[in-house]
């Protein structure tokens, strides 16, 4: 063992010592409030993200984790902007440091991440993945943003707001999580107006707002008067040209008050909280946590109309309310379609 390793060990033991002391302090303070007792043993959770935590998708995970930490359920730390090639190494580092649960996204390191998980059977891995869980790897659970319910509802609103019956959609890459939301959105729009024409483009990058903006401009020139803003840059084009947009995953209406009509929002909290509960109960196992993103689990919702309150046709809002109730009751389910969406 070299000096650096020794130092790290030392600092870890110091940190865990401090955590224990802090925990003891909380315990002592909580003596009068028995319900707070759980807070005495927060789970150590590490987040590993391939992009900055500002990115829409990851921001939802980060937010849920910060919330859970605020509640005292977990002790949270994270690494962002980790490249896919470096991902397994960072997983191992956290695993070696005694984290009990590691949450992240392995879309670009599916195989390697599973190999790391196999080496640390006592640590719970909750990973965003395009694949399903594997019963043989019992500590590796998967999730994804299955928010098609909310996307579908936002599609209904979009269908009622487009006057030219022409909707532009700019995506990053046609991967399942993107496709399924686009398809649900299109199905919703078509329920309002079966004749709607869709323009679909992918820009081959998650982070190229100038390119997303250019693509959106091209769609507007070709008649689109409403855009599905899957990427940063699309709402900017809509705002500049004075047309409308529908948001995805996060609510950006505050930045574009006259542009973004509605947004399908992902709530990661049910997913994370279910995993935390399972880890605490010792029952964490290979499972698909994707279902916790469904609307009936509270995993997604339609953002409040805000500045567009009263501007969406009542007929559309009635249908939204009806479908929402049906989704909650299970009477209606939005089709999950992972195929590449096409221009029409």
């Amino acid at each position: 063992m070299n000096a650096a390793d020794k130092n790290r060990r030392l600092s870890i033991s110091r940190r865990s010592f401090m955590a224990t002391t802090a925990g003891a302090a909380v315990l002592a303070g909580a003596a009068t409030a028995p319900t707070r007792l759980l807070a005495a043993s927060p789970i150590k959770v590490a987040g590993i993200y391939t992009v900055p935590v500002e990115q829409q998708w990851v921001s939802r995970i980060h937010k849920a984790a910060v919330t859970a930490q605020g509640r005292g359920d977990i002790e949270y730390t994270f690494s962002e902007n980790v490249s896919n090639t470096d991902y397994p190494r960072v997983m191992r580092e956290y695993a070696e440091q005694g984290y009990q649960m590691i949450v992240g996204e392995v879309f670009g390191a599916e195989q390697e991440a599973r190999e790391v998980a196999a080496d640390y059977p006592d640590i719970a891995f909750l990973m965003g993945s395009s694949f399903k869980e594997d019963a043989a790897l019992s500590n590796f659970a998967v999730f994804d943003n299955y928010i098609q319910d909310a996307s579908y509802l936002s599609g209904i609103i979009a269908g009622s707001m487009t006057k030219s019956a022409n909707i532009g959609m700019v995506g990053g890459f046609p991967i399942p999580e993107v496709n399924r939301l686009m398809n649900a959105f299109m199905a919703g729009a078509q329920e309002m107006n079966p004749d709607i024409k869709f323009q679909v483009s992918f820009i081959g990058s998650w982070f190229d707002p100038p390119k997303a903006k250019e693509t959106a401009f091209a769609m507007i020139e070709q008649g689109a008067d409403l855009l599905y803003a899957e990427r940063f840059g699309v709402s900017d084009a809509a705002k500049e040209r004075g047309i409308l947009a529908i948001g995805n995953v996060i609510d950006t209406q505050a930045d574009y008050p006259d542009t973004v009509v509605a947004s399908a929002i992902w709530h990661f909290e049910p997913t994370l909280d279910a995993a935390i509960a399972n880890v605490k109960a010792g029952s964490f196992t290979a499972a698909d946590y994707g279902v916790y993103s469904f609307m009936k689990e509270g995993g997604c919702s339609l953002a409040p109309l805000g500045t567009f309150e009263g501007k969406v046709p009542a007929k559309a809002m009635e249908l939204v309310a009806k479908r929402q109730a049906e989704i909650q009751s299970g009477a209606f389910s939005v089709v999950i379609n992972d195929e590449d969406p096409k221009s029409s």
């Binding site: 483009s201 903006k213 401009f217 091209a218 930045d255 221009s343």
Partner: protein, 314 residues
């Protein structure tokens, strides 16, 4: 929409020039470096640093043009590092350049996090706005394309002219070109090859940074990590495409941008629905390679490109 319709629409050409603008800055920067005999592979990283520096400056309260100047200074600082290592020390230009790209991108991200530790989405600035030139912008098609752009785009075109005149009509330009062709002859004239090359790399790097700043201050109004997205590497190819001549390099940048603007538009037509989108995304790169092969047959590569010069050594 037909191909003809697209090619005849003013918006297509406006988009082309808009997409070309950052490439023009960075291509001119790279061209200056290479004409002096130094390959600058730090371009991608320098563009990222420039994109961040200019935007951050404006976000912190400076004016837009001050922001451009700060981006340029940051680029020049990286250029100084690059030229120190490659010119007097004569280190491998490939290794230094790639190393600099890694350093500049990481340093940018580090600075970004230090400056904005807790943000949900990167803040926006008031970016450069379109400034139509009266009368000229009313000309059909080329009017809006060339004369209804942001000020930085006009600057890009002026820059090509300035680089062209400097390289071919001034003693400095002659000395610079000679440093890339036959440094020994430059030294024999009593001029410092080291100073010429370092100067070229520093100024060239400054221009690359302005190219990056175009993305955050003109094409868009916010900074995202990874938003340069390989544009720097394209510029290296554009210099070769332009046979190390500013005018031809400009043509190359416009051509590449035109292919890009075209693929964006074709993707949404019904034809686009039947062809995988990757084919369209590939199109500008593929066609640029084809054009590169055709154009570069008679290219005159600077004879001393990537050859370190040590005074008095044969």
């Amino acid at each position: 929409m037909d191909l003809i319709d697209i090619l005849l629409s003013a918006s297509f050409w406006t988009a082309t020039i808009r997409i070309a603008s950052p490439l023009i800055f960075a291509t001119m920067g790279e061209l200056i470096c290479e004409r002096a005999g130094v390959l600058n592979l730090g371009i991608e990283g320098i563009m990222v640093a420039g994109a961040f520096a200019g935007w951050m400056a404006v976000y912190s309260g400076t004016g837009l043009w001050t922001g451009v100047a700060i981006a340029m200074l940051v680029g020049m600082a990286f250029g100084l590092l690059h030229s120190l290592l490659t010119v007097p020390f004569g280190l491998s230009q490939h290794v230094v350049g790639l190393g600099l790209t890694l350093l500049a991108t990481s340093l940018t991200y580090f600075s970004y996090r230090l400056a904005l530790p807790q943000v949900t989405s990167p803040p926006k600035i008031e970016a450069f706005e379109v400034l139509p030139i009266p009368v000229l912008s009313d000309i059909p098609i080329i009017g809006p394309a060339l004369f209804a752009q942001t000020p930085l785009t006009y600057l890009a075109f002026a820059l090509v002219l300035a680089v062209s005149i400097t390289l071919y009509r001034t003693p400095l330009g002659l000395a610079l070109r000679a440093a890339g062709e036959n440094p020994a002859a430059v030294a024999a004239q009593g001029l410092s090859v080291t100073a010429l090359r370092m100067g070229a790399v520093i100024v060239g790097s400054g221009l690359m940074a302005v190219g990056g700043a175009f993305l955050t201050m003109s094409a868009f109004d916010s900074f995202f990590f990874e938003m340069v997205n390989g544009r720097g590497w394209i510029c290296i190819a554009l210099v070769v495409f332009g046979a190390w001549k500013p005018g031809k390099a400009l043509m190359g940048a416009v051509l590449f941008a035109a292919f890009d603007a075209l693929q964006i538009r074709i993707q949404q037509t019904p034809i686009g629905a039947n062809i995988p989108y990757q084919v369209f995304l590939m199109m500008p790169y593929f066609l640029s390679i084809v054009a590169l092969v055709a154009m570069s047959r008679r290219a005159e590569v600077p004879a001393a490109l990537m050859v370190p010069f040590n005074k008095g050594e044969r």
